[in-house]
């Protein structure tokens, strides 16, 4: 490039001056960037379809368990030893699919063979067997929550989102919150599996133990092993696999599906959206592998909700699978702040220090009680509850 210094004003200085307003507007009229034909092209304009999916009175969430595992070093260590983040989760040799052959030598078939006759009835024995065959069985916890919804007409519904991992841990957590009885009484109308990961799904027989007829909702990214596990666990009720991105469920409640590749050969996640009367939209996620930005973006684009406002959020607020490109940009903290949630209940994969940062940033984080092995009061911990709406 030729030197562009003229009378002491270099192009560089000029540009900086123009940028800070010193020479503003000097070439704005020249249409300097509208000369090429492609300038006429527009990116697809995003129009908000704002689907009316109804409205409901309130949503109450009980955290059955957010402690998916207790030692991250063991968990990530096992994954790394097996070959990394793309290794099929069923081959990791984690319970309940251990086969005694060690890291990366597991398979669904060899694992289930040892416990097939025991699930879902004798979970203690099944898990006990697996403790001898699998890697780090003591590390397994699980993620599950109870969602109680009240419609405008006063009708109430109970749903489960996810069903934990360790049979013993999940069963104990179910009993602690009375989930076992609710299931036995068929009070819980549906089980949603957010995604196929071990900590959200592998405790599936625990729900089956109490109610094998419960309708189960998954998405079409499930792998054959997962589908087989549902069968092998004795499920006899209806199974629905979502294919579309937006799926209204009951008035004011929709299931959102995200086609996203997740670590250890899992694909797709479903999250829930609730339109709470006079308040706004409430988002509930398992892990939110799609990223909070994507979750909120889809909801905003697709759904119509009260006051056009985001009201609350609950669950694991996962960072997107990639890191941001600007290390100064604390993406989770900043992007969560942008949406202006009025009630935040976070836990699970959010990260303790991230939760702390939310608190420090003045976000309305509903703090927990740090009981039942939940370790930080910044998390909405095991046994804690959060409610949205009247």
């Amino acid at each position: 490039m030729t030197e562009k210094k003229h009378e002491g004003v270099s192009r560089r200085d000029f540009v900086k001056g123009a940028a800070t307003g010193v020479c503003a507007g000097t070439f704005a009229t020249m249409g300097l960037y509208s000369y090429s034909s492609s300038a006429k092209k527009r990116l697809a304009k995003i129009t908000r379809s704002m689907k009316d999916f109804g409205v409901l009175k309130n949503v109450k969430i009980t955290n059955i368990s957010e402690t998916s595992w207790f030692n991250n070093a063991d968990l990530i260590g096992d994954i790394h030893e097996a070959g990394g983040l793309l290794v099929n989760q069923y081959s990791l040799n984690w319970p309940p699919f251990g086969n005694g052959k060690g890291s990366a030598q597991g398979s669904y078939e060899s694992g289930i063979a040892s416990i097939k006759d025991l699930i879902p009835k004798d979970l203690d024995k099944a898990w006990g067997l697996q403790e001898k065959l699998s890697l780090h069985p003591e590390n397994a916890g699980g993620y599950a929550c109870l969602i109680e919804v009240e419609e405008l007409n006063g009708k109430t519904h109970k749903y489960l989102l996810d069903t934990g991992w360790s049979y013993t841990w999940t069963d104990a957590a179910f009993k602690r919150e009375g989930i076992d009885k609710m299931l036995e009484n068929h009070e819980i109308e549906a089980l949603f599996i957010s995604h196929e990961h071990w900590d959200h799904f592998w405790g599936f027989p625990v729900t089956m133990k109490y109610d094998p007829t419960i309708p189960v909702f998954i998405q079409d990214g499930f792998y054959p092993e997962g589908l087989q596990y549902i069968k092998d666990s004795g499920h006899t009720g209806p199974l629905t696999s979502y294919k579309k991105a937006v799926n209204p469920f009951i008035p004011g409640m929709a299931v959102l599906k995200f086609d996203v590749p997740i670590i250890n050969r899992v694909f797709g996640e479903i999250s829930l959206a609730f339109n709470v009367k006079d308040k706004g939209l409430v988002l509930v996620s398992g892990c939110c592998h799609q990223g909070i930005l994507k979750f909120a973006d889809l909801a905003r684009t697709e759904l119509k909700y009260e006051n056009d406002r985001f009201y609350g959020i609950y669950g694991g607020l996962h960072i997107s699978p990639f890191e941001d490109w600007d290390p100064k940009y604390d993406d989770l903290v900043i992007s969560l702040g942008k949406w202006g949630f009025e009630k935040i209940g976070c836990n699970h994969c959010t990260g303790h220090l991230t939760a702390k940062k939310f608190v420090e940033a003045g976000y309305p984080v509903i703090r927990g009680t740090a009981r039942f092995r939940s370790s930080s009061p910044d998390y909405l911990g095991n046994g804690d509850k959060i409610s949205f709406g009247a």
Partner: protein, 717 residues
């Protein structure tokens, strides 16, 4: 001519070497393609590594540029089943055939491929952000480029044969990268200098003013309805050129006062070379996902356009052969489908297709290492430095090391990275057991202080740790009272096990002035640091923070200084392998700005360390001469030197071609040493006294008498 002659040193040189380079690249790519097509005997990992290094040097490109072609495959079992391979990434909409699932497919391919950290590193993916408000646009950061790349879907369609999506590719240069910014239009350059620039980059897809001025080209992505082929096509002008026929005048200037003289280019941007960086990274992810290299490649040059405008704002466009529009097509799948879908070849196109053989005249070196039956993983293995990164963390008692570690661990945990912490004073620093529990592994080293007693214990501890775990990073937390220089002395012994990254020193701003005044150890911790974090700045006013910074700067002119509170600082700002690395090869990397930017990166392939023991005092002049002659691939030198003209030992810090010597205040009764850090370290010529010192080590004649001997030699005796 040696291939190095074509190495690009700066964007300003683009003009002169660009076309030559293009030709070379094309030729070499062509060779690689041919090489790939030929079934070859397996060779050693070492050969493969040499191959990739050499190739990337010859191409003056990072390895990823040729990576998608160098992926080995079995000739007899080529798997064209694109459909099966895409099952881990296919969104549901893909099946409707309308093209609406392609943007999601593209991002899923990249996302999933990057779960393989080897691929991520090789392909150079460094960071990604979805664009708020537009689900089909993203911004990316790629290794070796300070700017941000934007990709946004412009349109999708489907017909009987295939579904296609067209994406625009933008490049948003780093504002500080002035040479690049100057090549852009005035409008783009102005935008890049505005304070809200990065914010606008984030949602560039929703802002018209952020697209056209930064547009580098287009990517067409198509998939056969029967999944028989997948095509990626990059269209980008070799140069994006706009001529101001009547010039651009300064607003308040005189008649002759031109910002752009009449007839000169207002914009003259090397669009293709930047767009192809992204294209190559995308192709690498596609190759990885499909587990098979492309079967077709075509490089076509179409007439380009030069846009010109006059003072009246009338715009004319002229076709030019000099600055063509480049169209690169890479095809995967069934060759006949690919050939059909990719359109006719034209005279002058460079074409390769699967099955074509390599001419006999070519030197064997280029393809020797490409083996027919190695998995992708094993190809990447020798290219990647799999040693965990070692960060030495120092800081005076109570400075906030534990909080820093907690932050560091959570940052990595949320990114599925595994951190191990080695502490030598468990319990003593009041490490918050609750918070650290379960997030990392603490290995206790016997006898308390790692840094004082070392004697093999550090490597024992690290060996033990690596026997049980496979961390990506190890933080070695030293006792608050340890002298880091004693530790640095030992780092060299750990080089087989770990990749030494840097010394980070945490300084408690509230107490620093006193501490640094009183304790030799505190001063030495600062002297040894590559990064100094001024912690607890909330407890001090800006005045005191400034004073501490000045004090630190006096002690260590070369360190990167960053302020924070509660140890809360993104590791991405500090360390390599994270997003902020500004980066890769090139002189900039070793020359960080004093108080911002990034310390020297050591994560790139081939960076190693070397220890030069200095068992006798050196002559200052000879030493400085030798330092001046260090080759550019030596990035840093640090250590303790004894000079013939001074009593006290001196601390040596050499970064980015500059040397800094300061008196070592603490007690130091051991021999001096230098740790040399650089690329391809064992093949670097060490100049003068450094060479002598390195090569004299171990010779019996250079035993304990040497210091005396040398004193004699320089006339003091």
């Amino acid at each position: 001519m040696p291939p190095e002659a074509f190495r690009l040193k700066s964007t300003a040189e683009l003009d002169s070497v660009h076309r030559q380079l293009m030709h070379l690249q094309r030729t070499l790519r062509f060779l690689v393609l041919h090489a790939n097509a030929k079934a070859l005997q397996p060779t050693s990992d070492e050969n493969r590594c040499a191959f990739a290094t050499q190739l990337s040097r010859w191409l003056t490109l990072p390895p990823e540029a040729c990576f998608y072609f160098s992926h080995p495959k079995k000739q007899d079992t080529v798997n064209h089943d694109i459909h099966t391979k895409l099952c881990h990434v296919s969104p549901s909409e893909l099946s409707d055939g309308s093209g609406s699932g392609l943007p999601r497919l593209l991002i899923n391919i990249i996302t999933r491929a990057c779960y393989d950290k080897g691929l991520k590193k090789l392909a150079g993916w460094r960071g990604m952000a979805p664009t708020p408000g537009d689900p089909e646009s993203w911004t990316f950061k790629l290794k070796g480029h300070r700017g941000i790349f934007g990709v946004g879907c412009e349109g999708k369609r489907g017909d009987n044969e295939k579904q296609t999506a067209r994406f625009l590719i933008c490049h948003f240069p780093d504002t500080e990268d002035e040479e690049l910014v100057e090549l852009m239009s005035l409008h783009a350059a102005t935008t890049a200098n505005r304070p809200d620039y990065l914010e606008k980059v984030r949602d560039f897809a929703c802002r018209e003013e952020m697209r056209e001025p930064f547009l580098m080209g287009h990517l067409n992505f198509s998939l056969g309805q029967d999944a028989s082929h997948l095509l990626l096509c990059l269209e980008s002008p070799l140069k994006k050129r706009v001529v101001a026929l009547d010039g651009v005048r300064l607003p308040q200037g005189t008649e002759e006062d031109y910002l752009v003289p009449p007839g000169e280019c207002e914009e003259d941007f090397p669009a293709f070379s930047l767009a192809s960086v992204l294209f190559n990274a995308i192709c690498a992810a596609v190759t990885y996902t499909l587990k098979t290299p492309p079967c077709f490649y075509r490089h076509a040059e179409l007439p380009g356009q030069v846009v010109a405008y006059n003072a009246q704002g009338e715009i004319t466009t002229q076709e030019t052969d000099e600055w063509p529009l480049i169209r690169q097509t890479v095809g995967y799948g069934d060759l006949s489908s690919v050939l059909k879908a990719s359109g006719p070849n034209l005279a002058g196109d460079t074409i390769w297709q699967e099955g074509e053989t390599l001419p006999d005249t070519l030197p064997p070196v280029i393809w020797q290492a490409v083996t027919p039956d190695t998995a992708l993983a094993s190809l990447s293995t020798p290219l990647l430095d799999k040693r965990p990164q070692l960060i030495v963390l120092t800081g005076f008692l109570g400075s906030g090391k534990t909080t820093f570690i907690n932050n560091f661990v959570e940052y990595h945990t949320s990114r599925n990275n595994f951190v191990a912490v080695v502490q030598n004073e468990i319990g003593e620093t009041g490490l918050d057991g609750k918070l650290l529990e379960g997030n990392c592994n603490v290995v206790e080293i016997d006898e308390g202080c790692v840094c004082c007693t070392l004697a093999g214990q550090l490597s024992t501890g690290i060996t033990e740790l690596l026997g049980q775990f496979t961390p990506e990073s190890i933080i070695l937390e030293t006792t608050g009272l340890a002298n880091t220089f004693n530790l640095l002395d030992e780092i060299d012994e750990l080089k087989e096990l770990v990749r030494f990254d840097s010394v980070t020193t945490i300084v408690d701003c509230a107490n620093a002035l006193t501490t640094l005044e009183t304790f030799d150890v505190a001063r030495d911790q600062v002297r040894a640091a590559d990064i100094v974090i001024l912690n607890k700045t909330d407890l001090t006013g800006p005045e005191q923070t400034g004073a501490v910074e000045a004090k630190v700067r006096r002690l260590n002119a070369k360190t990167l200084i960053l302020g924070t509170t509660h140890g809360n600082i993104s590791p991405g700002l500090l360390y390599d392998d994270a997003v902020g690395c500004n980066d890769a090869a090139g002189p900039d990397a070793s020359n960080p700005a004093p108080t911002h930017g990034h310390h020297v990166c050591h994560g790139e392939e081939g960076i190693g360390t070397l220890k030069i023991p200095l068992d006798h005092p050196l002559e200052r002049k000879a030493f400085l001469t030798a330092i001046k002659e260090l080759p550019p691939d030596i990035l840093r030198v640090k250590g303790i030197v004894r000079f013939t003209d001074a009593e006290a030992v001196e601390v040596c810090q050499y970064v980015g071609g500059r040397i800094d010597l300061s008196r070592h205040t603490g007690p130091y009764d051991k021999e001096g040493f230098l740790i040399v850090i650089g690329r391809d370290i064992h093949n670097q010529p060490l100049p003068g006294v450094l060479y002598d010192a390195y090569h004299s080590t171990g010779r019996p004649v250079d035993g304990p008498h040497r210091p005396l001997f040398h004193r004699c030699a320089c006339g003091h005796h």
